[in-house]
Symmetry: C2
Subunit: 343 residues, 2 copies
Amino acid sequence: MVRTYRESGVDIGEAERAVERIARAAATTVTPEVLGGIGGFGSLFRFDPELHPDPILVSSTDGVGTKLKVAIALGRHDTIGVDLVNACVNDIIVSGATPLFFLDYLAVGELRADVVEEIVGGVAAGCAAAGIPLVGGETAQMPDLYRGADYDLAGFIVGVVARADLIDGSRVSAGDALIGISSSGLHTNGYSLARRVLAEGTWESPMPGGEGTIGDALLVPHRSYLDDLRVLRRALREAGSDIHALAHVTGGGWEGNVPRTLPAGLGVDVRTGAWPIPPIFSLIQSRADIEDEEMMRTFNVGIGMTAVIAEDDVELALGAIDGAHHLGRVVPVDEGEPRVRFS
Amino acid sequence: MVRTYRESGVDIGEAERAVERIARAAATTVTPEVLGGIGGFGSLFRFDPELHPDPILVSSTDGVGTKLKVAIALGRHDTIGVDLVNACVNDIIVSGATPLFFLDYLAVGELRADVVEEIVGGVAAGCAAAGIPLVGGETAQMPDLYRGADYDLAGFIVGVVARADLIDGSRVSAGDALIGISSSGLHTNGYSLARRVLAEGTWESPMPGGEGTIGDALLVPHRSYLDDLRVLRRALREAGSDIHALAHVTGGGWEGNVPRTLPAGLGVDVRTGAWPIPPIFSLIQSRADIEDEEMMRTFNVGIGMTAVIAEDDVELALGAIDGAHHLGRVVPVDEGEPRVRFS
């Protein structure tokens, strides 16, 4: 008969070791706004209204999808946390927000402090790169929900934008230009399909047309566009202009994301071939003979962030940031017509 | 050969139906601070610094542990979201914070819009009860990570406290009183042990010494102490006093939580028998012959929130809130000695 919590599959001692390592990782991200105290039930972050007049708090939560299954199968847990942070960062910077702080939720079957350390080390690295503190988190042992080495990981981010700086698509008009910034790979979307097409047995094989293995290509972290968008916005504002709309190309691809940020009655006309398609997408498409439309609905296919800007600002924008491409333009679209057209 | 995202186990159509129902549930929680726009990549919440001078943002993330497995086995998903919200609310109100907004992360194997609606309906009900908006969330389909009807659920809350109102344990001194407020049951801790002791086959049986079934008793939602603590603090402040420390009794029980909020060198001396022990705890203990110490380390055993107040305020406090009990007092403790003693 089970008579203790430990016998029921929950290891409090290993949990304490994990918490120590999490604390060490989080400590590398601390900023002056972080306050200690009250035993960590809640995380304290001093908010300075003088730095952020008329503030709007912008928050988001995200996971990393079944990219986790690749990390778990390959036993490489040190970048999945970077994916998590960047997925969340990109979701709030599209409204013009500056990230403030981050929390993570990690649920495991069997708790191993060394694996937790790798995972949360990646989260901390992502936070440090974004200049924000990892202020808190939860590590849950759920022995009957997660099998073997399986785990799930979710992140929460809070940022802030002054109301006057909010990017909300309201300045978009027909004739504006659409530019896009290259993705680093699949980011964190479409892995349920990608893992079926590129079966686990192939992950140690060399990546056709790329570097390293197929597993390496599958695990490349989700790119953060924080610095790119800061540089782009500064350059445009110095020229008396601004970004009109931003879209983070995540689940649902271009079709599912770009129109969300455009006023009603507008869509985009995109020139096929206007951007390079990374080898991982070509490999997936060719291995399973997937149609172009399905590729574009499921994956970012090489562009992880799109921006709508004035046509006159295109040259300035392409010069300001690396990996930017002029994709097409904003056009009027009749109701019921597709809002993303490729020509 | 799998050639579409849908064939890989991800159902975008069902996801869209789920999103509609989530939006309906979230709409019931909207407050004037919530702003729409920018396609929902990030959630916008207007923060008014005039209402919250010298603000500290207090955040927390939590899950509901394997209480989920009870909800899943019984097919009752409408209260697990209430558990989630209240677990998070209680984590931030112990520092004196007022909740501002909430986000949820839901990960499923097979997506069923009706189940998602039940789950998120509970989250929305919890938010509405706390007076805060459910501003955003993520619903992830992860067909290879979650089996059958399994899912996981995490929550994320942000609140605010003026620096002058922060409750941080610094006013605690030896001789203060410890009071506790009754829990509603197991809350969201210790389920891996509870489910081993009270096997799934017994959940439809009548609850000995209680009402309804054992399953009912296992699923009673985590109580929120938001209103109780508001009333308690107002009563004490009107009398020129205040709360000295608060602890949310979660994983690790009293020993793992009460000392976290006390200054070094102090502990609590608790009178056994000072509070009623709900039938669910007696049932678990007697069925598996679990030692008292293990019970207190794993469960809240009837008290979900403790408060340290001045000895002179005890009568006022017990009169101000229902279900409050005078548990004992704060005492000096030598290094290496247990900081929670039962006598």
